[in-house]
Structure formats: structure tokens, C-alpha cells
């Protein structure tokens, strides 16, 4: 889709068509993602996953959707009616707004925005308001506790995420996502900026409350957090929002760090190839999310906070300082990029060591033996 209207249609009709495409594609993608997550996670645990509905369980998501739509929409007596009923929309609409600026190919997106990167990050963090509303409106202790955890987590991981993105934008010298993709025709940004890529991925998991950062929705701790009072269609809207966010953020990651449709085949290639490349790259990031979900246990809320504020935030600030320090000298391009890559890789090692130190098995406490004569006293 170009920035002009489709087939010369009036702007209103054009906007409506684009909206329909976005909503249709997202719904299908979300259903596919839920199916894939169940299948992939099952394989990680040597299970089969859904097999009963349709061939290889392909219709499982359709069956789930039908079930959720036909369920009763229950509102607790004590709930605040407006806040409670509007909360799912506030989780779900901002996520879809992020779809506007994400480039599928170099020429295909809903609108090419000059501040695309900023826009997507800004819009995708609005949905935390919906979480707070869900927690507050439910009039349920678990819900409000989960919502507060979600807010705390979202705020603390938003910072390193945005700071990491600033560093990339400095290297690309642009906030326009199409421009950023176009610059990666030869080498993707992850080579020059591995640390921001790592920070982006970690913060992504936390932003979307994916394991291992799923304390806000932990069933065993807060019985599903803000979801606890929701049922049927409203509950499914939370999930629609969650999986749509997963897809959009992985598309963003594919565009910013992996070169979107441009790398490695160049931008002269057909739109179909570019689309396939983008989807494959986004799929790789999504697979990585499933993989981490299958591998790591849930973090405690205090571990999660200290991880963000003590490791990720300093690392991202240091990355900005170093990137700025290198860029300000106007070095020859090769030297500049090598320096960027090396310093960022050192940052990755630092973060990796910090993570490993925190997960390392603590040494057993030394046992103080009591002498028999002392014990007898």
C-alpha cells in the first residue's frame, strides 16, 4: 500500500478499507499464533498439543473463539460498570494502533510515519491503562494486585526499551521505520547494535507479560491477575490484545534489528519476497519467545524490578553514551561501525554475565559445628 489512496478512492473509504484489512489480518494472525504457541510449547515438552479439532488440531483456535463468543459475559455486582467494561478495549485498541506504522515491506504499510519508531513504542505502552482499569474496575484484590504488578513492571521495562531504541535510532539517524529498514540492505542493525537487540527482546517479554516476566498474570500467585473477573468475549479481547502485541512487537524487532524486508536480498526484490522475509524474521522472534517460555521459570516481582533497574537500565544508558561518543567524532564509516559493534558486544557480555550471576546456584552456607562440650552446656 502506498501513501496515496487505493485506486484513487476517497480518503474515508480508503481508511475504512485499510482498517478492515488490519482487523481481519490481526484476528487471523492472533488465532494462528495461539495455535502455534500451543503446538510449539507442546513439542518443547514432548507432547503433541491440540490434535482433535480439524486436521492436526488446526481448527482449535476457531473452536476456542466460538466457545468464548458464546459464553455469558459476567460482570461482578461490585464492579465499576464503565471502568470494568471499557478496560478490554483499552488493552486491545492501542495494540492495533501500533499496526499503522509497522512496515511489512519497504513499500507496504498502512501509513509511512516520519516518527514511526516513536509512535509504535508510544502507542504500545498505552495499554497499561487498560490493565489498571481492569484491576481497579473488577473490585477484586487479586485483580488490583496483578494490575499494580503489571504497572510497576511495565514502567520499569519501558525505560530500557525506549533507551535501547534511541541508540539504534542514533545509528540509523532516523526514526522513520521505512528509512531504518532501507539502511540495513547490506548489514542488519543487530550486528552493529547487539546490546540494544538483547535489551529489546528482554523488555519485550516484560512489556507483554510473557514468561519469565509473567508475575502480573501468574495463576498460582494472583489467579490470573487483572483477568480474574473477566469471562467470554471480554476475556478473549485481553488475549487478542496480548497476541496482537506479540506480533506487532516482533514485526518491529524484525524491522529495526533484522533488516525487515531489505536484508539480505536488497530492496529491488519483489514485494512478495520482502513480505516473506519480514514474516520469517518476525516468526523467528516469536519462536524465541515460545522458547524462553518453555525454558525459564517465573521471576519473583523483586527480582524482576532489580533486574530492570540495576542491570538493564544502566546498560541501556551506557549504550547511548558510548554510541553518542563514537558517532560524534565523524570517524570513517568502517571504523565507526566496527567500534559500535565491539562496544555493544562487550555490553552484551556484561548483561549476560549479570544474568548468569543472578541465576547461579548459591553456595551452601557454611555449617557451624558445635563442639560436644559446648552442646552439653
Amino acid at each position: 500500500m502506498m501513501t496515496e489512496t487505493l485506486f484513487g478512492l476517497p480518503t474515508g473509504v480508503d481508511a475504512a478499507i485499510r482498517l478492515l484489512i488490519v482487523v481481519g489480518v490481526m484476528t487471523v494472525v492472533v488465532m494462528a499464533l495461539i495455535y502455534l504457541e500451543r503446538k510449539v510449547l507442546a513439542r518443547f515438552q514432548q507432547r503433541l498439543g491440540p490434535t482433535r479439532t480439524g486436521p492436526m488440531g488446526l481448527l482449535q483456535s476457531v473452536a476456542d473463539a466460538l466457545k468464548l463468543i458464546s459464553k455469558e459475559d459476567i460482570r461482578p455486582k461490585n464492579a465499576d460498570p464503565w471502568v470494568f467494561e471499557l478496560a478490554p478495549f483499552l488493552v486491545f485498541v492501542p495494540t492495533f494502533l501500533g499496526f499503522v506504522a509497522v512496515p511489512f515491506t519497504i513499500a507496504w504499510q498502512v501509513r509511512e510515519l516520519e516518527l514511526g519508531l516513536l509512535y509504535v513504542l508510544a502507542v504500545s505502552s498505552v495499554n497499561i491503562l487498560g490493565w489498571v482499569m481492569a484491576g481497579w474496575g473488577s473490585d477484586n484484590r487479586y485483580a488490583i494486585l496483578g494490575a499494580l504488578r503489571a504497572v510497576a513492571q511495565s514502567i520499569s521495562y519501558e525505560l530500557p526499551l525506549v533507551l535501547a531504541m534511541i541508540s539504534v535510532a542514533m545509528v540509523a539517524n532516523s526514526l522513520n521505520l521505512v528509512e531504518i529498514v532501507r539502511q540495513q540492505a547490506t548489514v542488519p542493525n543487530i550486528v552493529w547494535q547487539p546490546l540494544p537487540a538483547l535489551l529489546f527482546f528482554i523488555c519485550l517479554l516484560a512489556e507483554m507479560n510473557r514468561p519469565p516476566f509473567d508475575a502480573p498474570v501468574g495463576e498460582s500467585e494472583v489467579v490470573g491477575g487483572p483477568y480474574v473477573e473477566y469471562s467470554g468475549i471480554r476475556w478473549s479481547m485481553f488475549f487478542l490484545g496480548e497476541y496482537a502485541a506479540m506480533f506487532i512487537m516482533s514485526l518491529l524487532g524484525a524491522a529495526v534489528f533484522l533488516g525487515g524486508g531489505a536484508w539480505p536480498l536488497g530492496e529491488e526484490l519483489g514485494v512478495g519476497w520482502q513480505l516473506a522475509l519480514t514474516v520469517v524474521k518476525a516468526g523467528a522472534i516469536i519462536f524465541l519467545m515460545f522458547w524462553t517460555r518453555a525454558s525459564f521459570p517465573r521471576l519473583r516481582i523483586d527480582q524482576m524490578m532489580s533486574f530492570s533497574w540495576k542491570i538493564l537500565l544502566p546498560a541501556s544508558i551506557a549504550q547511548i553514551l558510548v554510541t553518542g561518543g563514537i558517532l560524534v567524532y565523524n570517524l570513517p564509516s568502517g571504523l565507526e561501525h566496527t567500534l559500535l559493534a565491539v562496544t555493544s558486544a562487550i555490553g552484551v557480555l556484561f548483561v549476560y554475565t549479570a544474568i548468569n550471576r543472578s541465576v547461579a546456584t548459591p553456595r551452601p552456607r557454611p555449617v557451624v559445628l558445635v563442639r560436644r562440650s559446648e552442646a552439653a552446656r
Partner: protein
């Protein structure tokens, strides 16, 4: 390769392995020959009659009294012009599978090796809507052995 990367590698190795799940109602795991389902009577394939002579040994030994045995003179015995060497043979035999606790005592007390524990899936898939359906008569008890489905196994 250490720390959290190792945990990622571990989960990935399980990802590459084949799922161990079996789609139970459609596919069945192969049962070991020592598998102990409900007791069934054995069929003498050479004499074309049951091994069981109706001696009541199993009925007396059964701790839950789930068996009922009736004996008769063998119509195929040599003395009446037949081929068989069995003077007496089983007439009627019922086992109430709803009572049976699969203790294997009947198999151990049998002097003729005429009863054995079913080691096929037909011995496990016995769910019924009525308790009366769980009472098995002689043709039912013999059918597994007669069809050659039992896996040979010598109980030592």
C-alpha cells in the same frame, strides 16, 4: 555454554525429540506379556476343547468369590467314542469381572494350566453401563485364547 544458555539448549534438545504422547483410543501401546488384566480360560488348540476340567480349585481359592464353576462328563472322551483324554470337562463358567481383583491366585492354583491372566488390550477396555455386563460366561472367557490373541508366557 553455561548458565541460561544451557537451559535454552536443554529445552531445545527436547524440542527436537519426538513427542512421547500416544493417541490412546486410536493407537495402543504394545503390552508386555506379563501384563495382568482379568483372568481368561485357555483353549486347547489340539483337542479343540478347553483345558479346564471344572475342578473348582480356582473357585475355592478365589478370595473375592467372583467365580462360578459347573462340571460335566466330557462327551468327547475316549470311553464314549471320542478323541479326548479328559474324563470331565467344564460345563459352565462365570467370572464377575466387577468383583475380580486380579490377584492371580486362580492362575497359581490351577492344576491344568487352564486359566491365565489376559495380557491383551481386550482385558483392559471393559467399561460397561451395567454391572451385569461385567459377568463373563464361558464363550466370552474362552474367546481371547481361542482367537490366538494371548501372548504366550510361562509363569514361573
Amino acid at each position: 555454554m553455561k548458565g541460561i544458555l544451557r537451559s535454552l539448549a536443554t529445552t531445545f534438545s527436547t524440542f527436537t525429540r519426538k513427542p512421547v504422547t500416544r493417541q490412546y483410543p486410536e493407537t495402543h501401546r504394545e503390552l508386555p506379556e506379563r501384563d495382568r488384566a482379568f483372568p481368561v480360560l485357555l483353549w486347547d488348540q489340539e483337542a479343540h476343547e478347553p483345558f479346564c476340567t471344572g475342578c473348582h480349585a480356582c473357585e475355592r481359592a478365589c478370595p473375592v468369590e467372583c467365580m462360578t464353576v459347573l462340571m460335566k462328563d466330557n462327551p468327547a472322551h475316549k470311553s464314549v467314542g471320542g478323541e479326548s483324554s479328559r474324563r470331565k470337562i467344564i460345563d459352565k463358567f462365570w467370572i464377575d469381572y466387577g468383583r475380580c481383583m486380579r490377584c492371580n491366585i486362580c492362575v497359581e492354583v490351577c492344576n491344568f494350566g487352564a486359566i491365565s491372566m489376559n495380557n491383551t488390550w481386550s482385558g483392559h477396555e471393559k467399561s460397561a453401563y451395567d454391572r451385569a455386563e461385567l459377568v463373563q460366561d464361558l464363550p466370552m472367557l474362552l474367546s481371547v485364547s481361542r482367537g490366538g490373541e494371548l501372548k504366550p508366557w510361562v509363569n514361573e
